[in-house]
Symmetry: C2
Subunit: 323 residues, 2 copies
């Protein structure tokens, strides 16, 4: 019975809850989603998480009685139950051994995947929650010829808080760094003097002005060590009329991504990176990586679900494929 449900996998983030029903080999049988993210549910009552879960997938839970696994912000302090960070380097086995069990009213158990923490070369803590599961899935999905060189491979997960992760032997996460690129773009555009010269709207449309974007990337790469000065030059470029108002958001976007790449690669630039994220944002990073001369390719889709399956399997919640 290959289509018999074996796992309910929840990608439970800040804004949304996505549920996948997985078959015996980890194949996706059905998916659903709701705007029931951790920050979208009114605080206070812990029962709100159970209610949101039952509303979206109560019928699956009652009908199939299969294990549940969840990754993402649901394991944060603001989530259903805190799943303490596992320190890097950490692979599937370490994470699977630290799943946090939540007894669910329907008699089933929800297993929350812990996030990862890492002490950087700068001596500072860094954290991720949800991305570790994506990374396990993406590393597993590399083609066999590529898997052998996955040690030392660098993954970029662009976003509000962009992550660079370096994977080692067996797909374990050796270290990672978070960059505030996406959030800086948003607050600078919406709340700083830089936004005043820009036309309203149009955020998120990638590379409408490829020239201004590429110039921003070049500047960010060259001058990331003076980032807080460089950002001001977005204003002067607009004031001087050298860059048109509608191209200024692209200049800023390119600059912030250039500052990120320049900072992340200042000790050593990886020969190639794997991009993992929303397609339009990945396209933007691809254009920037081209300027930086770093080879890139995209991870296969569905890395999160694949990662959830792998963690569940490593924890013995589901049978080994082919076992």
């Amino acid at each position: 019975m290959p289509r018999r449900p074996a796992l309910i996998a929840l990608d439970w983030g800040t804004s949304n809850l996505r549920a996948s029903l997985l078959g015996a080999e980890g194949g996706v049988l059905e998916t659903r989603s709701a705007a029931s993210g951790v920050m979208a549910l009114p605080g206070g009552d812990p029962g709100r998480f159970a209610a949101a879960l039952m509303a979206l997938a109560g019928d699956w839970i009652e009908t199939h009685r299969c294990p549940l696994i969840a990754s993402g912000m649901i394991g944060s302090r603001q989530g259903w139950r805190e799943a303490p960070y596992v320190e890097c380097p950490a692979g599937l086995a370490a994470v699977a051994a630290r799943l946090v069990r939540v007894e669910h009213a329907a008699g089933t158990v929800l297993h929350i995947v812990p996030g990862l923490s890492c002490i950087g070369a700068d001596g500072q803590d860094d954290v991720m929650r949800g991305e570790e599961t994506q990374l396990f899935g993406a590393a597993d999905q590399e083609e066999p010829s590529v898997t052998r060189v996955v040690a030392g491979r660098c993954f970029i997960l662009p976003g509000t808080h962009s992550k660079w992760a370096w994977l080692g032997e067996g797909g374990s996460v050796c270290s990672f760094q978070t960059f505030m690129t996406g959030e800086l773009y948003a607050v600078l555009r919406q709340h700083s003097i830089l936004g005043r010269l820009m036309p309203p709207g149009g955020e998120g449309v990638p590379s409408r002005d490829a020239g201004a974007f590429a110039e921003g990337v070049r500047l960010g790469l060259a001058e990331h060590a003076s980032a807080t000065h460089l950002l001001f030059t977005v204003r002067t470029a607009g004031l001087a009329g050298r860059v048109a108002p509608e191209a200024l958001p692209e200049l800023l976007s390119g600059m912030l991504i250039g500052i990120e790449i320049g900072g992340a690669t200042r000790a050593a630039a990886p020969p190639a990176v794997v991009l993992l994220g929303e397609p339009a944002l990945c396209a933007r990073y691809e254009a920037a990586l081209d300027v930086a001369g770093i080879a890139h390719r995209r991870a296969a889709g569905d890395a999160t679900t694949r990662g959830q399956w792998l963690v569940a399997r490593a924890a013995g919640l589901v049978e080994e494929a082919g076992a």
Copy 2:
């Protein structure tokens, strides 16, 4: 008649209009101010600037019939009349030669001091407006023994958009760089995820936690090349409980100032700098410069008025002192 008014000097910025009545030697006879800054006056009608000026200093203008000089944002595109930037290097003579005359209804002429522009080592434009006048005044106020070494001296003007200016022979401004330090602090504290871990209020109280501030400075100096990553560590320091919520603003403030100093001095650190600005903010920079090992002292007060007098004198609007 040494107290006979010789010049009305206007420091007309974004938020405020400050007027000083100066005597024959440039001494201050009287000062007044109003919240009639360029951004505080409703747009559209150019007459609003004349009205604001007459409301604050109409009696001076009508009684004394002496020349008027104004520096600051009043010469910007949003001001009374645009005074185009003078390109660096530029000293008193170059600026005095480019004053913009506005015929004022009362039969007097307002002379607007132009700002300065500069093309940085990064090839990007930078601009200042108002600070050039402060710099001329501060350079002139240096003690005689110091004036001789003013060539190559570095001035820092902390603020929303902090400026580093390098002065050459005769007190001319050779080059300068703007850093978005103050504005980044404000938008990150008010609008980003970093502010969520901080208690509300308390901005602007300097160094309530000297330890967290100094740690921020050290990190900023060491890691300014990865600024957009480093900023995220303010969050992780709070999440991990390593820095208390009320000390997080100090960590962020120190970090941003450290990033500024690290960026500004990455080619070569000046042996000493002169600080010019609001006392509480100067105190914060002094603490940061101590961590960086850069000697510092404060400029004499009243640099703006002194600079306005010097520009007016160089333009022949007032008599040379002792002539």
